[in-house]
């Protein structure tokens, strides 16, 4: 069939649809919703995938992050002693052992953290002081919005410099330029050299970085932290003192290659299991986060595919139903066309063109509804969505297929009519 003829048949189909606009529109509804949900499914799915991928990129695909975790509260020693000392989490020995024993480790970053009082003039705050290596700042994108970050030079000189969050500066209620001002941390003077961007502290990163507070982190060089502040946190409560000793809050292990991440995490688990008699650590594998969310994604997709399929099925049945009615209505026309020389396949094509046109137009409207819907959802929620042109193409292919599949039966039925009976039909 020539292209011109094809367009003529399609144009005839569209013309017939336009004759009954309301009916055609109602017939399309199923397809519209089906396609809209296909579009929504694809773009939300892609958005989620995109977000997870970028999250993993942030946390490092080759990384395994080990966090110290306070084990579930055990029964405190039943003493009247007002002093209580707790010790848990990762130790220096763990770090040395990992560096020595596990062959896939390329690099290892230690993080020390204590809770300390921070004085600025007469203002006092409880701050989380994290001792990190300059490499850590680079790896997790902790960049200074103002000022600078500390470097290997600062680290080697045990410089008493710190990076603070914007929120902490606000809490100090100072009119001074925060860059260059001095803070007293654990009795030592530290100079603020930079303000950290908040962009790096999105919820997922914070969780993986084992940060619970939203504003009160203070970053200082690891070496400085070891030399000056040590590893013991003192918590004073009404009348009692509680010492908590955590050698290392976090160890970030970078493997040589992406493929080794899972094996490394298993080895780390085994090693730590041997070194610790209780589970006071957690192993976070960014790659596994991907797997977990892919699992969630799969369930979500399954539900959406189901919804979309049901809508498309119902839409298709609606089309078939209306076409059957149309064919009865147009029996006479079919008879006339047959008498004038239309072959059965000409009749089939004519009605297929109509069902396909109705489905394709429905598909286009569905794309529109779907995209508008998605933009609305993105606007109202914090979901991410990625709309690609290929989804529109796919949706159109799907809807045309529905049109053909559900048009075949009515079209064949029209073509199988006896021309004599059809001609006599009134």
């Amino acid at each position: 069939m020539g292209l011109g003829r094809f367009f003529e048949v399609v144009a005839l189909g569209v013309k017939n649809l336009l004759r009954n606009k309301l009916r055609s529109f109602l017939t399309m509804l199923g397809i519209i919703f089906g396609v809209a949900s296909v579009i929504a499914m694809l773009s939300v799915g892609a958005g989620a995938r995109h977000e997870i991928l970028s999250r993993i990129q942030e946390l490092g695909v080759r990384n395994v992050i080990i966090n110290s975790v306070k084990p579930p509260e055990e029964i405190k020693p039943d003493t009247t002693d007002t002093q209580y000392k707790d010790r848990y989490g990762l130790t220096f020995a763990d770090a040395d052992y990992i560096a020595e024993v596990i062959p896939t480790v390329e690099n290892m970053l230690r993080v020390n953290r204590i809770t300390q009082r921070l004085w600025y003039g007469s203002k006092r705050l409880e701050a989380s002081v994290l001792g990190v290596e300059p490499e850590y700042l680079r790896m997790f994108g902790l960049e200074s919005g103002r000022g600078r970050v500390f470097t290997e030079v600062d680290a080697n000189n045990y410089a008493k410099v710190c990076l603070v969050r914007r929120g902490l500066v606000a809490q100090l209620e100072t009119v001074e330029d925060p860059i260059g001002m001095w803070l007293q941390i654990g009795g030592f003077p530290f100079q603020v050299i930079g303000i950290l961007d908040d962009a790096a502290f999105r919820s997922h990163t914070r969780k993986a970085l084992n940060i619970d507070s939203t504003t009160q982190e203070v970053y200082i060089p690891y070496e400085t932290s070891m030399r000056t502040l040590g590893t013991v946190t003192l918590i004073e409560r009404a009348g009692s003192q509680e010492f908590t000793q955590v050698d290392l809050d976090q160890i970030v292990v970078t493997t040589k290659h992406e493929d080794e991440v899972l094996r490394t995490s298993q080895m780390l688990g085994a090693a730590l299991g041997k070194l610790h008699d209780r589970v006071d650590y957690e192993i976070v594998v960014p790659l596994e986060l991907l797997k977990q969310s892919e699992e969630t994604q799969r369930v979500f997709n399954l539900v959406m595919i189901l919804i979309a399929s049901i809508s498309l099925l119902v839409g298709g049945i609606g089309i078939a139903n209306i076409m059957l009615a149309t064919i009865t209505e147009r029996t006479k026309e079919i008879g006339i066309r047959r008498a004038l020389g239309a072959r059965r396949r000409d009749i089939v094509l004519q009605f297929l063109a109509e069902t396909t046109a109705i489905a394709a137009i429905g598909g286009l409207l569905g794309c529109f509804v779907g995209i508008v819907g998605i933009l609305g959802i993105v606007e109202l929620t914090n979901w991410k969505a990625v709309i690609a042109p290929s989804y529109v193409m796919l949706s159109l292919v799907i809807s045309c297929t529905v049109g053909v599949v559900f048009g075949i039966f009515p079209a064949r039925r029209a073509a199988q009519m006896d021309p004599i009976t059809a001609l006599r039909f009134e």
Binding site: E8, A339, G341
Partner: protein, 243 residues
């Protein structure tokens, strides 16, 4: 001797099977030569309509041979029959059978559409034909906007558009008032004069009496056939006129 357009040989048509079988045509032998204008008359139930369906290739005979324009069409499949209808037969029905959703021009174009004629050529040929039946000013009208006589003229134009070997018409004046009926009949006579072969089923004795040849049917058989003779002079006249 002129070429035979229609050769029916022992045509039998039986509906149903077994005890309930009903034989409508009992071995018809009819031959029509090129350029003849033949009326077929007979009471209801005489088999006229069945005969028209078979001649029009809408139906196949149960047995017997049928040659249309020299081609054996009794045993063709559905696709081939469609082709034969398209190329060799022009139908003019009592109730016009125009498609209401198409314009006059589009209705006339239909046979050409199915014979795969390119669009431009289709337009040109159809415009000429619509012009010829006196409806040049109505090409973009829809059938519902036309009078009965105009509708039938459109139908005639449609029947002629593929230059069929045989024009087949069933009570073409049945739905028309006397004046329009006479006009339409006049067109058929003109077409006959131009050398067309026409087969017309009619109840109307007056119309039948004006035709060069009349076949009367009863109970599925030919009761009376006025024979070739009457048409000869007309053919002769046409032959003379066209040379």
């Amino acid at each position: 001797m002129a070429r035979k357009v229609l050769e029916l040989d022992k045509i039998v048509k039986t509906y149903g099977a077994g005890d309930s079988a009903l034989t409508v045509l009992h071995g018809l032998d009819i031959q029509v030569e090129e350029g003849e204008f033949v009326g077929i008359v007979g009471a209801s139930g005489s088999g006229k309509t069945t005969l028209m369906n078979i001649v029009g290739c809408l139906d196949r005979p149960t047995s017997g041979e049928y040659c249309l324009n020299g081609e054996d069409v009794a045993h063709l499949d559905d696709d081939r029959l469609s082709l034969v209808r398209n190329r060799s037969i022009g139908f003019v029905f009592q109730s016009f059978n125009l498609i209401a959703q198409l314009t006059v021009l589009e209705n006339v174009e239909l046979p050409l559409f199915y014979s795969r004629t390119p669009r431009r050529e289709r337009h040109k040929r159809c415009l000429d034909l619509v012009e010829a039946v006196g409806l040049g000013h109505r090409t973009e009208h829809y059938p519902t906007q036309l009078s009965g006589g105009e509708c039938q003229r459109v139908a005639i134009a449609r029947a002629l558009v593929n230059q069929p070997a045989l024009l087949l018409t069933d009570e073409p004046t049945g739905n028309l008032d006397t004046k329009n009926g006479e006009e339409v009949l006049e067109i058929f006579h003109d077409l006959h004069a131009q050398g067309r072969t026409i087969l017309m089923v009619t109840h109307n004795a007056e119309i039948a009496s004006g035709l060069p040849r009349v076949i009367e049917m009863r109970d599925g058989m030919v009761l009376k056939d006025t024979g070739f003779g009457t048409g000869t002079c007309v053919r002769g006249a046409v032959a003379g006129g066209s040379s």
